[in-house]
Every structure is written in C-alpha cells, then in structure tokens.
Subunit: 336 residues, 2 copies
Amino acid sequence: MAYNYRDIPQIVREILAAKAEDGGVKNVYFVGCGGSLGALYPAKVFVERESLGLKTGWINSNEFVHSTPKDFGKNSVLCVACHAGNTPETVAAAKLGKESGAAVVLLTYQEESEIAAFADYLLLYSFDSSSSAHTGDMDYAGEKTQCALQLAVELVNDTEGYEHYDAFYQGVERIGGIIRKAREQVADRAKAFAQEYKNDSFLYTMGSGASWASAYMESICIFMEMQWIHSACIHTGEYFHGPFEVTDCNAGFVVQIAEGSDRELDERCLRFLKKYAKRFEVLDAKELGLSTIDPSVVDYFNHSLFNNVYPIYNAALAEARQHPLSTRRYMWKVAY
Amino acid sequence: MAYNYRDIPQIVREILAAKAEDGGVKNVYFVGCGGSLGALYPAKVFVERESLGLKTGWINSNEFVHSTPKDFGKNSVLCVACHAGNTPETVAAAKLGKESGAAVVLLTYQEESEIAAFADYLLLYSFDSSSSAHTGDMDYAGEKTQCALQLAVELVNDTEGYEHYDAFYQGVERIGGIIRKAREQVADRAKAFAQEYKNDSFLYTMGSGASWASAYMESICIFMEMQWIHSACIHTGEYFHGPFEVTDCNAGFVVQIAEGSDRELDERCLRFLKKYAKRFEVLDAKELGLSTIDPSVVDYFNHSLFNNVYPIYNAALAEARQHPLSTRRYMWKVAY
C-alpha cells in the first residue's frame, strides 16, 4: 500500500504505538544518495534543533551501510529517499533497516520497485518533472523534502511536543503558492543568468542552515551532473574561514539568502561579494515571498522554495549552453 | 589554568560529576569555523556512531549562535576550537555556552586570549607550524583533532561504556610514529604532485567517513585560502550520485583512501578514476602505515594521518607555485 504526505501523522502514530513496548523511538536517521540525501537535510536540521531527546543523523547510504551507528535498530526510524527505487546503496540501507528492526519509511516516486520490499511505509511524493514556470497541478506540500520534514515534525511533536506545530502546518499550506509565484518571478532573471554564466567552467553555490543542502543539490546534481560544470557548495558561515580567498572579479557565485534565523550569515557573504566580486546571482527568500510564513518555522521552508526556483534557472542554463539536463557521460551508461 | 590532552579523562570526570545533579550530560556539540570546525569532525562522527544516548552536532560557530539547538544548556558539553582565541563567531559561541550553563571545553593554541574567559576548561593542543618532513618534538597525540576525539571517547566511555577503549588508546600511542614515518614517505611524491598540479585552477579533494573533513580542510584551508585555487570536497559515497559526471582527463583529484569501515567507498572512486580520469593523487592510509592500529578503532585515526601528511604536499605546492602559504588578500587585511 502506498501512502502520501497526508498520511504522515497517522504513520508516525502507528510507528510510535508499535515501538512503545520496545522502549519507544530514540533516534531517526535520514539516509540517501546525492539529491535524495540533500532533500532530507531540512528534516535532519529540524530534529537537531528542535528535539530534546531524539538522536539524528544525515548520512550517505553507502556510508550508513558500511559504518552503521551502534544505536540503530529496533528503537530507530529510518527515513530513506530513493526516487526510482533502485539505487543499490539505498536499497541496501533500507534492507539493513528492515533486518535491524527499524521502522523504515521510504520516500519514493515509484510505487513498485526493488526497494519497496524493505519499506514499512512507502510514501509516494509529488514531483515536478517539468522545468517550466507554470507547474499545473504540482502539490509542493507533498514533495520529497516536505515529506521528510513533516515526518520529523510529527515525530518530535508526538514524543515531546512541538510548540510551533500549528505555525508549521500553516507554512505547509502556504509553501505551494509561494513557490508558484517565485518561479514566475525569476523567469526573466534566469534567462539573464544563463547568458551571463553559460561559458563558466566552474560555479559556486552558497547557503546555510536548514537550506544549506538546496545549495549542495544545485552544485552536485545540476552544475556537476547535468551541466558538467565544476562546482563547489560553500556554507556561508564557513566562507570567511578559508573559501573567501578565491573571491575575485571572475568567479561566479549563486547565493541563497535564507529567511529566518540564519539570514545574517548569508547577508554577510552578500555584502562581501558586493564589495569584492563582480559576478553573483542572488536568490533571496524574503524577496521571493517566504516571509508570509511565521518566523518561528520559516527556517525550514527555505529549502523547498530555493530547490523549486532553481529549475527555472537550470532550464534556462541548459538551453543557453545547448546542453540538455538529461545528458550524461557515465550515469546509466557505464558500470561503476 | 591550562590543561593538555593528558588531562582529558580527569576533565570529563569532573564535568560528569558537576552535571550529575542537574540530570547529567545529554548532548555534546562540536563548534568552530573553517579548519577549527573540520578538526572536530572525527569526534562528532565518533559520538554519532558509538553512543547510544548522547545527542551530538557539528556546527559552524555562527550558525550555532544564530540557530542554537533547543536542547543546548546545562545538560550540554560544548567543545569549541579556536586557534588564536579571537575568532569572533567562536568567541560568541563560547560565551553563549558559558551563559547557557553548558560545560565549555576550549581547544586552543593560545593560553591567553579573548575566548579564554568563557572556557571552563582551556585545553592547549600541540601544533606543528613547520611543514618540513622532520617534525622534531611535535606530539601528534595531543593535536586538536585528537583532543576532541579523546574528549568524545571519554564522554561515551564514562556515561555508557566503550568496548574498544583500550584499543583506542593504543591507537593514540601509535599515531605519532605513524604520522612521522608517513610524512617522510610522501616527500618525493609531494614534489612530483606539486609539479603536476602547479598550474591547475581547480582541484577536487575526496574523502569519506570520520576522515571526510581532512579532505574538506585541504580544500577550503589550503587550496582555496592559502593557494587561491578553486576547489571542492567530494564525499566518496556521493561521487556516483552527481559529481562523477565532471570527471575527465583534465580535472585534478586528491583522493583519500581511508583504512577501516569506509575504505570500500573510497576504493570504488579510485577504481573509477583509474578508468576515466588521468590526473589524481592518492593518499592511502593503509599504504601509509595506519593498519597497525586496531580495526575496531582505526576509522577515527585516518583524519590525523591525512591532515598531517597534507602539509608535506602543501609546502611543495606553495614552493612550486611561488605562492607562500601565508599569502592572503582579504584575511587580516580587510574588514568583513
């Protein structure tokens, strides 16, 4: 049976009920590879920041399987993400979860797949495969990142209470409308970005806090994987402790300015770039409308906004470079 | 009063005794900026993997101050690293720790500094400022990474027991000799590396597991900060999920092959590079002598080995590029 994000409160209640006689849920691990791992990052940050009692980890599937935390087992929730359901390392992680007695929550876009056999709960997320500004029926509240985040919120709320629970779900209701508007808002600037950066051989992305991983995903999944542009993702809090020395008038940066508690870190980088760099593109969550979400929870919504605005830039970049986003030289083509 | 690494068991016993009536130690946060943050990574991974009950986090100082985890307070240990004792963001983190009632353990190279006032325990680490292969009296068992790691081991052992405690301290005894020998071992290949890569404008570093951050530090502190070479650090488990698409005969990679449970992740990348890349430098912990440390604990010693072998490469690279490691354009020169 496949679930969707509206079932998450019920799924968490079931898991907690089932685990109660075994000592309850003590930890939650978010595990995946590449973009699927990145999408789980806001959920991990949520547990890290908001929970008093739950241990958490955000770990690449292959590392998780080879170096499994000692506390992983019957008191664990394992949240794995696997888009097509057949990434071997993530299949192995889910299998390990099943065998260890963890509650395995699988986030996937594929109802029937190799990994499904190891899922206690198979959660189908919504996914927008188009990169047009007009996204039709796409339900952003049910996308991968949101599913993991809502799982984290329910776990924390049901075990120890989460004071901003209602504000959080008001955010969930609003995020889709905000994203839709933001995608239209950046359409022209995305085209200008594509013209400016189409010949760059490397590009930096920058971010922080619960939305750091949307910068990570843009770097590894788009620039490196889909455009073969060398790239690195810089944490804005780390920028001044090494990375900023490469800043000059040639290097290209894509800078996320998050809304919420980490905004000051991002703004500090932007001030520096304005002074010492010449080529940077700004994605400002406030300017893109995220501030209608309550300040107590807004941190956790930056990722969904940025991650769904990037596709507009990516489509324009691919077009300007005449390098379709589907082009690969190794993936699906050679053994590795 | 300044302590050194030999005092760590006593420091942890004191902290646990002092916290006992307040509910004990429930979490340990490793906080710093740039290289000082990187050096704390093995300790965080140790707690994440080996502890059943302690929550842990590895967080940039500025993010920690702006988005402090809710559970941070009187049941916390805050381990901050600050080389010269005056990094403003880390001073702020230590101050927050002191005010929140956490036990603040400061790792520093400076006995008297701005941050010292906020430390419950000021731990002076050993530090090798030379980059020659002959390191004289340097006590590697007392370096920054080792101090944090030993703090983590003592915390876990004293609260819930650590079955490989004796093996771990045998490793501590051996690591210095292994590093010394390895530094001599790479002297010639470091010079060859410097000649091969001296004109590269972009270099990747790669690593995984508890030693991922030695690759991170090499990327941000050496290539970016000290050599102004664009750079990114790729997790070897993530490589096949995006980053590998940039692999070609021109890109340069420095690949750590760790000893221990994550070795297979690193070796898989190396096999791929051997097939599809032409320019990569390998740092193999096994070949560099780390295997004399017990397999149950060897994972946690890769970082110290790699991090202390890199300086030989770095000195050669700086020499070949006629770009001294102390050259900066922004750090210490402009306001930021």
